[in-house]
C-alpha cells in the first residue's frame, strides 16, 4: 500500500495525551477512579462537620433515637444533605455535558435553556402568593418549581420544533436565552410586588440550599433523576457524532432528531429535578464537565459517566466547605461552587496549555 509523503509535518507532533489505549480500558479505569472518589466523599462527608459527633454513639441501636443527638445529627442533619448533594451534583454535571454536546457549545450550562428560570418562577409564585392562594398539589416550593421547569422546557421545545421535525439547535439556543430573559423580568416583577420578607426568602432560595432535613423530597426526586440517567446511558456515542455536525452524524447512521429529543428531554428532566430539590446551584453544570474533559479527554462515552461521578463528589465537597468554614453561619452552597470551581478551572487551564 503506497503512502503519501507527509511533506508538511512541522516538527515532532506533540501527543495530546498518552497514546490511545483501548477505550474499554480507559472507560473502566475512569469509572473506577471517579467512582471511588465519589464514594469516598459521600462516606466521609456525613462524618465531618462543625459539631464533633461520635459515630459509635450514632450507630448504637440501644440508645433511643429521640435521645441520640449524634444519631440525629448524622441521620437527620447530615446524611440527607450529603445524599442530596450527590444527587444534585451528578444530575447537574451530566446535564451540563449533554447540553454542551447537543448545542455544540462548550459554554452551555444546564440553565442556558430556561429550565432553571422556569423553576425559579414557580418557586417565587409559591413564596409570594402561597399565603393568599392555594395551588393544590403544587403548593410547596419543590412541586411548584418542578412544574415551572416543565413548563419552560415545553415552551422552548415548542419554539425550536416549529419549523420542522428536527430540533434546530440555533433556534433552541435563541429560544432558551430569550425565555431566560423574559422569565427573569417576570421574576423581578413578582419580587417587586412582594413584600420584603418574601423577596429575601426568594433570593435565598436562588442561592441554593441542600439542607433538606429529611428524605421525602429526596425520594420524590429520585425517580426523575434515575429516568434521566437511564436515558443518558443511551446518548454518549450519538453525542460524539452530533458534536461534530448534524449532517455528519446523520451520514454516520445517527437518527439526529431522535437523539436531539432524547438529549433535550433527559437533560431538562435531570436539571428540573435537581433545581426543584435544592434550588438552582450554579457552576456545577459548566465547571465539572470542563474539569473532567481536561482530565480524561473529550470522548463523551467517558466524559458523561465521569462527570456524573465527579459532579457528585464536587458538590458534596463544596457543601462540606459551605457548612463548616464560617460556622455557625452557613454560606449558600452556590457561592462556594463558584469560588472553588472558578479558580481551580483557571489553574487547570493554565497548566494544561
Amino acid at each position: 500500500m503506497t503512502t503519501l509523503d507527509s511533506a508538511e509535518t512541522d516538527g515532532t507532533p506533540l501527543p495530546r495525551r498518552a497514546s490511545h489505549s483501548s477505550i474499554r480500558g480507559r472507560l473502566t479505569a475512569t469509572i473506577l477512579v471517579f467512582g471511588t472518589l465519589a464514594l469516598a466523599t459521600c462516606v466521609l462527608a456525613p462524618i465531618l462537620g462543625t459539631t464533633p459527633i461520635s459515630l459509635r454513639r450514632a450507630f448504637d441501636p440501644s440508645i433511643p433515637f429521640e435521645q441520640n443527638v449524634d444519631a440525629q445529627i448524622f441521620f437527620v442533619a447530615r446524611l440527607p444533605r450529603v445524599l442530596a448533594g450527590a444527587l444534585v451534583g451528578s444530575a447537574l454535571a451530566a446535564a451540563g455535558v449533554v447540553f454542551q454536546a447537543m448545542l455544540r457549545n462548550p459554554l452551555a450550562t444546564p440553565f442556558t435553556l430556561g429550565v432553571s428560570a422556569g423553576a425559579s418562577l414557580g418557586a417565587m409564585l409559591v413564596i409570594v402568593l402561597g399565603g393568599a392562594l392555594t395551588f393544590g398539589p403544587l403548593s410547596t416550593v419543590p412541586a411548584a418549581s418542578l412544574a415551572g421547569a416543565a413548563a419552560a422546557t415545553a415552551v422552548v421545545y415548542w419554539l425550536a420544533t416549529r419549523h420542522g421535525h428536527a430540533i434546530s439547535t440555533s433556534v433552541l439556543l435563541l429560544a432558551g436565552v430569550t425565555l431566560n430573559s423574559f422569565l427573569s423580568a417576570i421574576i423581578m416583577f413578582v419580587q417587586y410586588l412582594a413584600d420584603f420578607a418574601q423577596v429575601y426568602r426568594a433570593a435565598r432560595w436562588i442561592m441554593g440550599d441542600l439542607d433538606i432535613g429529611g428524605y421525602d423530597t429526596l425520594i420524590a426526586s429520585l425517580p426523575l433523576v434515575l429516568v434521566a440517567f437511564v436515558l443518558f446511558a443511551l446518548l454518549p456515542s450519538s453525542l460524539n457524532l452530533l458534536s461534530v455536525g448534524k449532517d455528519a452524524a446523520a451520514a454516520r447512521g445517527v437518527d439526529v432528531s431522535q437523539a436531539q429529543r432524547l438529549a433535550f428531554f433527559s437533560a431538562s428532566l435531570a436539571t428540573a429535578a435537581a433545581v426543584s430539590l435544592a434550588g438552582p446551584i450554579g457552576f456545577v453544570g459548566i465547571v465539572v464537565p470542563h474539569l473532567v474533559r481536561l482530565m480524561v479527554g473529550v470522548d463523551h462515552r467517558i466524559v458523561l459517566p465521569a462527570s456524573a461521578l465527579f459532579g457528585a463528589a464536587f458538590l458534596v465537597a463544596c457543601d462540606l466547605v459551605a457548612r463548616t468554614i464560617l460556622a455557625p453561619v452557613e454560606i449558600p452552597v452556590g457561592i462556594v461552587t463558584a469560588m472553588i470551581g472558578g479558580p481551580f478551572f483557571l489553574w487547570l487551564l493554565v497548566h494544561k496549555s
Binding site: L4, P13, H20, G164, A233, V244, G253, G297
Partner: protein
C-alpha cells in the same frame, strides 16, 4: 445501475412555507459502481442537496434514491451509513477530538448500541490514517491541523466507515493549489486501488475534468446533461451552465480536459 436517484425532488422549508426553496426538480442520476462522478454547476444549482439525498441524510419529497436496487428509505440509517460515507465541505467539531478519535467515529454504524470499538476497529482506523498519510497525526488535536491535513483526516474518517460509496462536497474548496493536488491524487488512488465509487460535487471544472470519468451537470435544480466527461464537457455546455465563454481542450502535459474561462456572457 448502482446508486440511483430516480426523479427526486426536494424543497427546503416545505412544511412551514416560509422561505421555501425548491432545490431539486425531478432530478435523475445514475452512478455506476466504481465510477468517479463529478456533480458540477453554478451556486445554488442543487449539488449539495442532491448529495445529501444520495447519502440518505435528507428524504426526497418525491421520487426515490436506491442503492443496488434497494430504496434507501427501506434501509436503516446505520445500514445506509455502512455503505455510503460522506465527506462534508467543512467539519467543525465542537470539542477537541484527536485525529484518531475523529477517524474512529466512522466505525459508529458498524457498532451495536452499547458496543465500544475493539482492536479490529482500531486497526481499520489506523489503516485509513495511513492511506491518507495522516497516521503521524493520530494523537494530535484535529483543530490544530492545517487545512490540508484536516481534509485528509475527514476523508480518513469516511474511509473507516468501510463504505463502498464516498460522497464528497467540494473537497478542495478551501485548499491551496498544493493541497488540491494532494487530495486529488488521494481520491484518484481510492477510486483506482480500492475500487471506491466516488461522487464529488465541485465548482472546480478542472478538478472534475482531471479526476472524474462521468459528469452530471446541474442548473436551477435540474440536470441538464450527464455522461462521459470527454463527451459532456464542451464549451457549449459550459456556456449553458455558467453563461461563460470558455476554451475547453485537452491539455498536453496534464493529459485531461482543461477549462479556461474567457468572458462572461450576460
Amino acid at each position: 445501475m448502482f446508486l440511483n436517484g430516480d426523479r427526486v425532488s426536494y424543497t427546503y422549508n416545505r412544511r412551514t412555507g416560509v422561505e421555501a426553496v425548491k432545490a431539486l426538480r425531478e432530478v435523475s442520476v445514475r452512478v455506476d459502481r466504481g465510477s468517479f462522478t463529478g456533480l458540477i454547476g453554478p451556486n445554488g444549482c442543487g449539488k449539495t442537496t442532491l448529495l445529501k439525498l444520495l447519502a440518505g441524510v435528507l428524504s426526497p419529497d418525491a421520487g426515490s434514491v436506491s442503492l443496488d436496487g434497494r430504496a434507501l428509505a427501506t434501509m436503516s440509517k446505520r445500514h445506509v451509513a455502512r455503505r455510503i460515507a460522506v465527506v462534508p465541505q467543512e467539519t467543525h467539531p465542537a470539542f477537541e477530538y484527536t485525529v484518531l478519535e475523529m477517524a474512529l467515529m466512522g466505525r459508529h454504524p458498524h457498532l451495536g448500541a452499547f458496543q465500544l470499538e475493539g482492536p479490529a476497529d482500531l486497526a481499520i482506523a489506523r489503516e485509513a490514517l495511513t492511506a491518507t498519510g495522516t497516521s503521524h497525526l493520530a494523537e494530535r488535536s484535529y483543530m490544530s491541523l492545517s487545512g490540508g491535513e484536516k481534509q485528509r483526516v475527514v476523508i480518513a474518517s469516511a474511509l473507516t466507515q468501510s463504505a463502498e460509496v464516498l460522497l464528497l462536497d467540494e473537497p478542495t474548496a478551501s485548499l491551496d493549489l498544493g493541497y488540491q493536488l494532494e487530495i486529488g491524487l488521494l481520491l484518484q488512488r481510492l477510486n483506482r486501488e480500492r475500487s471506491a465509487t466516488l461522487v464529488m460535487a465541485t465548482h472546480d471544472l478542472n478538478l472534475a475534468a482531471s479526476l472524474c470519468d462521468t459528469l452530471v451537470m446541474m442548473r436551477n435544480g435540474r440536470v441538464i446533461a450527464s455522461g462521459n466527461t470527454t463527451e459532456v464537457l464542451t464549451s457549449a455546455m459550459v456556456r449553458q451552465l455558467y453563461d461563460v465563454e470558455a476554451d475547453v481542450r485537452v491539455h498536453e502535459l496534464a493529459g485531461h480536459l482543461t477549462v479556461v474561462p474567457l468572458a462572461r456572457l450576460s
